[in-house]
């Protein structure tokens, strides 16, 4: 018996050894502490040295990771713009590919302590997690040395982006201080004029028009909503004066100085009742919640829809517009001023929202050998020279030098060769990590203004006349979401599911009463999982933001 147990003891000892070895090899706490020390030393040194890093003098190699499943960086230097940067600025960028599962790749890199120089990712939870784990380098020491970010983004924006510890870690992308965005309604001109151009201002007008379309064009989809039923969210704006679909993304509606339940919001319920009525009567695409992008593109570019509403209908409607023009010079698409419910102020209807922070951010990690150089590069890229080279190609082709205001001076080739120009911008789309909307929009707008109307770009035209004026400034709702692992984060995930289900059920509801009932049930279900606690958390964050925006 004893001998037998010795065997087992041996096995146990062996197992434990293996376990400990395996476990220890994973823990790199000591290493990272050392690295941290090293990094902070270099930081300090960098802060003391006042020498600016100048591009072109030495080769700079930077590694990056785009934290999106869809993201694959094209080869740096494979297109004219980056080839020019690579050659003249001696910057070479390599990407770590997420292989279609970015989250998993990032996790592996964190666990293996092999972070790239900078990570391009969404604001909020994913950045906070990295910051709390001590993986990010604060950017504050460099802000005064390399000033493009401060000049173009502004002090207020920088403050909004600061983390809880008061430091700035994030480099914004497509930030802007003036309104932007394309949300709204696109109308098929051929069908509209054929049906006698009825007024399209109120929700009643829209309903009657869609019925008219259905009677006269049985094969056309009267109201197209884009993917994920985006158009359904856009319609909410018609019922909520002074609000925007941002409330739907937040699953919270402001009420005085509190964020309150969306399920109890009469405007939201009313908008769903309206949508549900349209859906029942076959006026909205029956695949509204299940279709994919390809199905939408096909319908829109073929002109197989009468009205199209989504968060950015211009993307496909622009292509469709030029296609339809070829068939019928009087056809195409045009945009209308946002639909509103009878009695509401049409100037207070916002079918979309924007925030000054733009889309996403880049963060520099402790994995960067010399964070200052990485920052210097990002700062250069967001500045006039970087932006002009990246979007309009190398100097001397489509632009040559800057005017006295600092904007690029476009050459004749700029409007003679729109395809070539579009190709430059398209080819660098996946390098636009820190687009400077202020700079580019002003540069483009200055130029567009000098053109006769028929030569103006369709999208630019409608942005200038309708969409930019009707987008809501949702900067105040920035970062009000909790971290996923936190108690509120778990609640948010559960409330999100209740919401999604309720929204879908409401669209398929058979009567207005049923919509109300669905909303009531959803309210109970959401409160059961702690909705109120989440709302209080969000309210607090929101109030903090309002204070920052007010300049306190």
């Amino acid at each position: 018996m004893r001998k037998k147990s010795i065997h087992w003891y041996l096995l146990l000892v062996f197992l434990l050894t293996v376990g400990i070895v395996a476990g220890c090899s994973d823990s790199d706490t000591t290493e990272s502490v050392e690295e941290e020390k090293n990094d902070s030393e270099t930081n300090d040194e960098a802060g003391e040295e006042d020498e600016l890093f100048v591009f072109g003098e030495e080769t700079l190699e930077i590694s990056m990771f785009g934290n999106y499943d869809w993201y694959t960086m094209p080869g740096w230097g494979d297109d004219v713009a980056t080839a020019w940067i690579k050659e003249n600025k001696k910057v070479d960028i390599t990407a770590i590919d997420g292989g279609g599962n970015a989250e998993q790749k990032l996790t592996t890199m964190i666990a293996g302590d092999e972070l790239p120089d900078f990570i391009w990712t969404d604001r909020g939870a994913s950045v906070e997690r990295l910051r709390e784990g001590g993986a990010l380098v604060p950017l504050d020491p460099y802000l005064d040395k390399y000033t493009n970010l401060r000049d173009w983004f502004g002090e207020e924006g920088i403050n909004m982006l600061r983390s809880d510890d008061g430091k700035l870690y994030q480099f914004p992308n497509w930030y802007n201080s003036s309104p932007f965005g394309n949300a709204g309604y696109v109308v098929n001109k051929g069908i509209y004029e054929d049906l006698g151009s009825p007024p399209l201002e109120t929700t009643e007008d829209l309903y009657e028009y869609l019925q008219l379309v259905k009677e006269n064009y049985p094969d056309v989809i009267p109201f197209e909503t884009g993917i994920d039923g985006q158009g359904i969210n856009v319609l909410y704006s018609a019922f909520a004066e002074g609000e925007s679909p941002a409330n739907i993304n937040n699953v919270a509606v402001p009420n005085g100085d509190q964020l309150t339940s969306i399920f109890m919001d009469e405007n939201y319920t009313e908008s769903l009742q309206y949508v549900s009525k349209l859906f029942r009567e076959g006026l909205i695409t029956q695949d509204a919640l299940t279709q994919d992008q390809d199905m939408v593109i096909e319908k829109v570019t073929a002109g197989n829809i009468a009205v199209f509403a989504s968060a950015s209908p211009t993307d496909h409607a622009r292509t469709g517009h030029y296609d339809l023009l070829e068939e019928d010079p009087d056809g195409g698409y045009f945009m209308i001023h946002p639909i509103h419910k009878e009695g509401l102020d049409p100037n207070e209807v916002y079918p979309g929202s924007y925030n000054m922070m733009g889309w996403n951010v880049s963060v520099i990690t402790k994995g960067a050998e010399d964070p200052e150089k990485v920052f210097a590069f990002l700062d250069w890229l967001t500045g006039p020279e970087g932006q002009s080279s990246l979007i309009f190609g190398p100097e001397g082709e489509y632009w040559d030098g800057f005017d006295e205001e600092g904007f690029p001076q476009f050459t004749e080739k700029y409007y003679e060769d729109p395809e070539g120009l579009a190709k430059v911008e398209e080819d660098t789309a996946n390098f636009q990590w820190n687009g400077n909307s202020n700079f580019l929009d002003t540069a483009k707008a200055n130029f567009e203004e000098s053109l006769p109307e028929e030569h103006r770009n369709w999208t630019t035209h409608w942005q200038n006349t309708i969409t930019w004026d009707t987008q809501y400034d949702a900067t105040q709702y920035l970062n009000i979401s909790p971290i996923p692992e936190s108690e509120e984060g778990i609640i948010q995930q559960r409330v999100g599911e209740v919401f999604e289900e309720a929204r879908a059920k409401a669209v398929y509801a058979q009567s207005d009463e049923e919509v109300e009932q669905i909303m009531e049930e959803a309210e109970t279900a959401a409160q059961d999982v702690g909705y109120q606690q989440l709302l209080e958390f969000q309210t607090e964050k929101w109030q903090e933001n309002l204070a920052i925006v007010a300049g306190e």
Partner: protein
Amino acid sequence: MGVKSEIITSDIKANKKKSFIKRYFGQFDLQMMVIPGLLFIFIFNYIPMYGVIMAFQDYDIFEGMMGSSWAGLEHFKMFFSDPRFLEIMRNTFVISGLKILICFPAPIMLALMLNEVKNMAFKRTVQTITYLPHFLSWVIVAGFTMSILSTDNGSLNIVLEKIGLIDGSISFLAIPEYFWTIIVSTNLWKSIGFASIVYIAAIAGVDQQLYEAAALDGASRFKQIFLITIPSIMPIIVIFFILEVGNLLNAGFEDLLILGDSAILRSVSDVIDTYVYRVGIGSGRYSYATAIGLFKALISVGLLTLANYIARRNGNSLW
């Protein structure tokens, strides 16, 4: 009696023990062949199991397994108290149960039917056609299903409308009541042929003399199926059934993830695996995901043992 026999058995054991090392080295050449396999299983299947520790921690990806704080059974409690828990368990068992009820016997029937076909060319063709879908990935199969069932231009809707069975299009994939039927039938279509290969092979191994004897005794084809074919392949059926029961909590993943991924269907399509993927992995709650995975594994082992126990009483068991 009791004391004596204990002494005797312990003597036998001691003898066996003594000879163990001798016997081991006596067959060292053979053992050398087993060792790599054992090592492989140990390294890749047993060592990684230390990861289940995560289920009892608040795993922090920056701190690793050693630095994370302990959470006890917190994550298990959280799962059991999740408002969706009962719904998820119900869906898991119902979808799995339906698959066992329909997709398990179907290939056996197909094999029995094919066995009766005398025309070899026809038999081969049917076999090939039925097992080919197995090699299509779920993304493709789900794509087919979605375009067949869609409302705008879906072929099923067009057919039904043309023969006058329905008035307007039905959005099949948006009606929760239809979902289980859709998922089970696509699974059946995809798996029936491939699963039947084993049974066809088993049937081919049945001693032909039995059939001849039965025919002499006047047994009809049906009698022969029920009295000879089925009893002969029973051990295989039982083994597959035991494995199937052990898999009861694996109600499917890709099929449900792709076909059932809309908010309106979630109440009938969300099973343990899709929930773990969405809530656990999707939002970086690794401990939570591990806890649910562990819970699932424990139940599966229990089910497997139970099924095997029942089968052993009937003389056909896995171990």
